[in-house]
Each structure stands twice: as structure tokens, then as C-alpha cells.
């Protein structure tokens, strides 16, 4: 066992670096950061940023050949690697955004903010590879606890504290139910790592009786509560709008992109590996008989995207609208998991990359505008097209991309997802997805109408000036939204290359 541990450590450097970044950044904050005259937290922020960059530079050296580390605790494979790149890239962007955010600068102890971002990222990196029920639980919990703290960071704001408290209550309940489900699964199979559980279920040793299938189904649904809460799938989404609205906007963006991606990573690994039976042809997964978990996911996908889109229509706060839109997007992405093909997985991976650019861009513009005009209400966006042309064009591009209209990147993402769904003969699911995209156009169009076709409420047409940094960042996010809409070959091949999940 000792040799296994020592052999595992060299492959574990990115994760170790991230955990060190967290611990050492605390020391940096207390020893140097506190002595700064203006408490902007810049020292700690830069330190954490450096930690992120070192970690992402180490990733290419983590050999992506599928294998296990520390016994059966942790899998390394191209699938996990893809998510690690995505999560770290999001983290770097979020740290840079946070350094510009006026909302955060008002807070005391802003240095610690970056430390908790590092802790949360460490948890998410573990979520991408955890292959043992104990690790799955611990990784989810590291992410949850860090995000509780981060979402309540603007303590002076009432809504931020409320968001944090709601998040804690929902999070506690969800992990409790998930643990119960895991204990049932352990009781039935006597194993904790997902490979042994799979072996037990496949050989039928552990589950000889009819009644046990019901118990297994219950335990799967209970575990799904924990995952569903992380990806904010309906009906486990109740925390999402309040937390997204109340949390500092950079945290909201991090939760909407990285935390959701990590949740999907762990969910796909758990379901695909635990109930794996065989591969038919190339890249067509077959689950064990009697475990039609993908039907459960299909139902979840349908209600998630429908509810997310329909409720978003009534939202007047842009942050809240983006929250419901991100619930809807979780529904679209879930469709890729339902079909159980490599094509579906690669479509999901691609969608995550595109979602990264369009969603982070939208959140960034909303943050920049809120910093200037102090509001996220849709009525305050009236006439924005004339007052701040570049930023408005940016927001339009991101929202059109989120709708999934050509020629932007969002269209390619949706098109890949829908074609994977149709290929697997889930035509009804694809039709519901297309109807939902149409609904989403309605509420995004409300923003365009306010920006371009309406006069400001108080008749204030003075231009809003943004710093060059904001303009440059906005343009940096517009560019990939256009490029990936027209030239997506490399992205497709990288996603297809990353579908390999470790199987024993």
C-alpha cells in the first residue's frame, strides 16, 4: 500500500499545488496582506492567481492515460483532465474579474476571498476524478462549504447573508440525503468504490432478489439528490435563484460555470461506471439490465429545462434571469448524459467550453454595468445601446449565443447536443429541447428591446464610460463566441479525444 501511495503522488501534483495554494495563501494574507495600507487583497489575490497558473501548467505533465491513484480513490483519465482545464481556466478568469469588482472591494478581508476560491477549486478538481463514495462525498463537501462562505461574502448586504443561509440549509439537507443513499448502496453491495459496486451488481452476487431493485432505485435517487443539487437540476434547484442573486456576482459566475461542470463530471462518472455493462460497437454504452437510470435523467432534463426557461420569462433582475437560464442550460446538458454514447459525452464537453465563454461573458457585462449604474434591473438597461455601445453589443452577442442562434458558438453547442440526442433516437427529447430554445429567445429578446428600442426611464441619455479594461475584457469574450461559431473543428476533436473514462 505504501508503494501505491508513493507512486501516486507524482501524478497528483496539480491537486497538491492547489491545496498548498489555499493553505499558504491564508498565511500570506495574515502576514503580508493585512499590513497593506489599502486593504484591496491584491497581494493574496496575485498569490492565488500564481498558484492557479502553476497548477494549470502542471496539468500537461499529469499523464492522462486512464489509471487509478491511491488505490481506488481517484481516477485520472482524459475525461477528468478536460474538466480540470475547464475549471482552472474558469478560476483564473474569476480571480481576474474579482480584482475588478467594485462590489467586492467594499468588503473587509477580501484577501480571504481568493483563498476560498482556491479551496473551492481544489474540491472541484477532486470531484472530476473521485471514484470512491467517500471521496465523492468529501469532494462535494469541500466545494459546498467553500461556496457557502463565498456566497455570503458581502456581509453588509442583507440578500447576500440570506443567500448564504438558504444555501447552507439546502446544501445540508441534500448531502444528508445523498449520504443516506450511499449507505444503502454500501449495505447492498458491501463495497465503497464504484468499480467494486459495478462488479458486484454485474455479477448479480449482491442483488439476487426482486425487492432489492426497488431499494437500489431508491438509493440511486437519493444519491441523485446530491448531484442534482450541485448541478441545480429541478426539483433540487430552489436555492439557485436566491443564491445567484444574492452572492457577489463573480461567485455567481463561478457557481454557474465551474461548480456545475464539476457536478456533471462526478455525476457522469458515477452513473456511467457504476452501472456499466458493456460497450456495443464503438462508444455506445449499455447499462446493466434493470437499471434504467438514463430514463430518470431524461425526465430530470425535461423538467429542468422547461421550468428554467418558463420561470426566466418573468424575471426582471438580470442576475436572477441568468440564474434561471443557467438552470435551463443544466437541462440541455443533461440530455447529453441521457443518450449514453460517446457522442453525447463529447457534445456535453463541448457545450461546457462554449457555455464558459457565453455565460461568463454575460455575467461579466452585468457586473460591469452594475458597478456603474448600481442596478441589475431590466428597466435600468433601457437605452443602454446608445449609452454604452460596446458593452451592449457584447451582452447581445452573449445572449444570442445563449439562445443558440447561428452563427455564434452557442448554436454549435446546441447543434452538437441535439444531433447526439437524435442519433440515439431520443427524438421527443430533442423536440422538447428545441421548443425550450424558442422560449428562451423570448426573455433574452426583452433585454435587447430594452437596450436598443426603448428610451431610458428618467430620460438620462448621457453616455456611460467604462474603463479600457472592461472594454478589452468584453471584446476578449466576444471573439471566442464568434470564432467557435465558425471554426469549431479543433474543439470537436479535442472533446472527442476526452471522452475516455477509466474503467477497470
Amino acid at each position: 500500500m505504501i508503494e501505491i501511495i508513493f507512486n501516486s503522488i507524482p501524478s497528483f501534483w496539480p491537486e497538491i499545488t492547489m491545496s498548498l495554494t489555499f493553505v499558504v495563501s491564508m498565511i500570506v494574507e495574515f502576514s503580508i496582506g493585512r499590513k497593506e495600507k489599502s486593504s484591496t487583497g491584491m497581494t493574496t489575490g496575485l498569490f492565488v492567481l500564481a498558484g492557479f497558473i502553476i497548477t494549470i501548467l502542471q496539468l500537461p505533465f499529469q499523464n492522462p492515460e486512464p489509471r487509478l491513484l491511491f488505490g481506488t480513490m481517484y481516477s485520472v483519465d482524459p475525461f477528468a483532465m478536460f474538466f480540470k482545464y475547464l475549471i482552472l481556466a474558469t478560476g483564473i478568469v474569476i480571480i481576474v474579474f474579482s480584482m475588478q469588482s467594485a462590489e467586492l472591494r467594499k468588503q473587509r478581508a477580501i484577501g480571504e476571498f481568493y483563498s476560498f476560491i482556491a479551496a473551492m477549486t481544489f474540491g472541484m478538481m477532486l470531484m472530476t476524478g473521485a471514484s470512491h463514495l467517500l471521496m465523492i462525498y468529501l469532494a462535494i463537501e469541500v466545494v459546498s462549504i467553500s461556496s457557502f462562505i463565498l456566497s455570503g461574502f458581502s456581509k453588509s448586504l442583507h440578500r447576500s447573508s440570506e443567500a448564504s443561509l438558504k444555501y447552507v440549509l439546502f446544501g445540508g439537507a441534500a448531502s444528508g440525503v445523498m449520504l443516506y443513499g450511499m449507505s444503502l448502496l454500501y449495505g447492498l453491495t458491501g463495497a465503497l468504490d464504484i468499480f467494486q459496486i459495478q462488479a458486484g451488481l454485474a455479477s448479480g452476487v449482491f442483488v439476487p432478489q426482486e425487492a432489492d431493485f426497488a431499494v437500489l432505485m431508491i438509493s440511486i435517487i437519493m444519491i441523485l439528490v446530491g448531484f442534482g443539487y450541485k448541478i441545480s437540476a429541478v426539483p433540487f434547484h430552489f436555492w439557485t435563484p436566491d443564491v445567484y442573486e444574492g452572492a457577489p456576482i463573480t461567485v455567481t459566475a463561478y457557481l454557474a460555470v465551474a461548480s456545475k461542470a464539476a457536478g456533471f463530471a462526478i455525476m457522469i462518472r458515477f452513473f456511467y461506471v457504476t452501472f456499466f455493462d458493456s460497450m456495443v460497437d464503438i462508444g455506445k454504452w449499455v447499462s446493466l439490465p434493470h437499471f434504467e437510470w438514463n430514463i430518470v435523467l431524461a425526465v430530470l432534463a425535461v423538467i429542468t429545462m422547461t421550468l428554467g426557461n418558463v420561470v426566466a420569462v418573468w424575471q426582471d433582475n438580470l442576475k436572477r434571469m441568468l440564474a434561471y437560464s443557467s438552470i435551463a442550460h443544466a437541462g440541455y446538458i443533461l440530455m447529453g448524459a441521457v443518450v449514453m454514447t460517446d457522442l453525447g459525452i463529447s457534445a456535453m464537453l463541448m457545450y461546457f467550453v462554449i457555455y464558459f465563454f457565453m455565460n461568463l461573458g454575460a455575467f461579466y457585462v452585468v457586473m460591469a454595468v452594475a458597478d456603474r449604474i448600481g442596478s441589475e434591473h431590466i428597466d435600468d438597461y433601457r437605452g443602454l445601446g446608445k449609452r454604452a455601445p460596446i458593452v451592449s453589443v457584447g451582452l447581445s452577442v452573449f445572449l444570442v449565443s445563449l439562445t443558440g442562434l447561428p452563427p455564434l458558438a452557442g448554436f454549435i453547442g446546441k447543434w452538437m447536443l441535439f444531433s447526439a440526442v437524435v442519433e440515439a433516437n431520443f427524438i421527443w427529447l430533442a423536440i422538447i429541447g428545441v421548443i425550450n430554445s424558442a422560449i428562451s429567445l423570448y426573455y433574452y429578446a426583452r433585454v435587447f428591446r430594452n437596450m436598443y428600442l426603448r428610451e431610458p426611464l428618467n430620460g438620462d441619455t448621457s453616455p456611460i464610460t467604462f474603463s479600457p479594461l472592461v472594454i478589452v475584457t468584453t471584446i476578449l469574450f466576444i471573439v471566442p463566441n464568434i470564432i467557435f461559431g465558425l471554426y469549431f473543428g479543433p474543439l470537436v476533436s479535442y472533446a472527442q479525444h476526452s471522452v475516455r473514462i477509466f474503467l477497470p
Binding site: 491511491f70 481517484y74 449495505g187 432489492d212
Partner: protein, 168 residues
């Protein structure tokens, strides 16, 4: 036979105070009843030959968390005579949900064929073996749990601190 009787004693010690925790209108009563629930659970652990976990349960829950809870209740203003709002609201939906959950769990517990991992071997305490396992097979979860606790402690300190006056 004696063990069976002991089991029922500890089970009663766990469940009856738990009812008091839920239904009591006084925070103090609820907090002190919780003490007995924790004790009962520790007894159940002993019956399962999990001596280390039983001791940890007593030290952590009764020694630490419980004392904190009682102090917290006592130091909170007027906590002794505050009526906690366990008012009767939406009884019917609650009953349906709780009944359904209870029925499901009973069906699960009685219906499933649980895996037997053999009889419990007679060992002199579990602390040594647990320590070995935590440092070998379970070293990664052990370390991650350390990080998790650090995050929780730092976060609690951060939340409890007084907010800064907002800069103009």
C-alpha cells in the same frame, strides 16, 4: 440475550429524547434532550464493537458540540423563555410526505437482502487498525477531510467577524 435487551435500552435512549427535541417548545429542554440522544447513539456504537467511534462520539458530540450548544442557548438573550415557532402548519402535506418517507424507509430496511460481511471478529480495540487504515488505504480522504475542516473553521471565523464599515 443480554445484548438484545441492551440494544433496546440504547435504542429507547436515542429515540425518546429525540421526540422531545422535535416537539419541545423550550430550547433548553431540546438542547438537554439532545444530550441523551447522543449518548444512546454512542451506546449503539459500543454494541457494534466500534469502540473508537463510540468514544469519539462522546468526546466530540457530548463533550464539545453539546456544551457549545448549551452555552449558545444560555448566552442568547431570552432564549429560555422564547417560544420557538413549531406551530402547526400544513399538517396534511407534512403528514403525507413524512408518512411516505417512513413507509419507503421501512420497506427498504425490511425488504432488502443486505450484504453480510461476516461475523465481527474478536479484536482488542479498533483504534490501532483504524489508525493504520487512515494512514494507508484511506490516506487521501483523510487529508481531504483535513482541508475540509480547515475551510470550515476559517469560514466560520470569517462569517462571525464584525462587518467593516462600508467605504464611501
Amino acid at each position: 440475550m443480554e445484548l438484545t435487551i441492551l440494544f433496546y435500552v440504547f435504542a429507547a435512549l436515542t429515540i425518546i429524547p429525540a421526540f422531545v427535541v422535535v416537539f419541545s417548545r423550550s430550547l433548553i429542554y431540546a438542547a438537554f434532550s439532545l444530550l441523551f440522544t447522543f449518548l444512546g447513539v454512542a451506546g449503539l456504537y459500543v454494541l457494534l464493537s466500534a469502540d473508537f467511534i463510540a468514544v469519539a462520539q462522546i468526546m466530540v458530540y457530548i463533550g464539545g458540540i453539546m456544551i457549545l450548544l448549551v452555552f449558545g442557548v444560555m448566552l442568547t438573550k431570552q432564549a429560555t423563555d422564547v417560544e420557538i415557532s413549531t406551530g402547526i402548519m400544513k399538517t396534511l402535506p407534512a403528514l403525507i410526505v413524512v408518512g411516505f418517507a417512513l413507509g419507503t424507509l421501512i420497506m427498504v430496511l425490511t425488504g432488502a437482502s443486505w450484504t453480510q460481511i461476516g461475523t465481527i471478529p474478536q479484536i482488542e480495540g479498533t483504534a490501532l487498525e483504524l489508525g493504520e487504515l487512515l494512514m494507508t488505504t484511506f490516506v487521501l480522504p483523510f487529508e481531504v477531510a483535513g482541508i475540509l475542516l480547515l475551510v470550515a473553521v476559517m469560514g466560520a471565523a470569517l462569517i462571525a467577524r464584525k462587518p467593516k464599515e462600508v467605504q464611501s
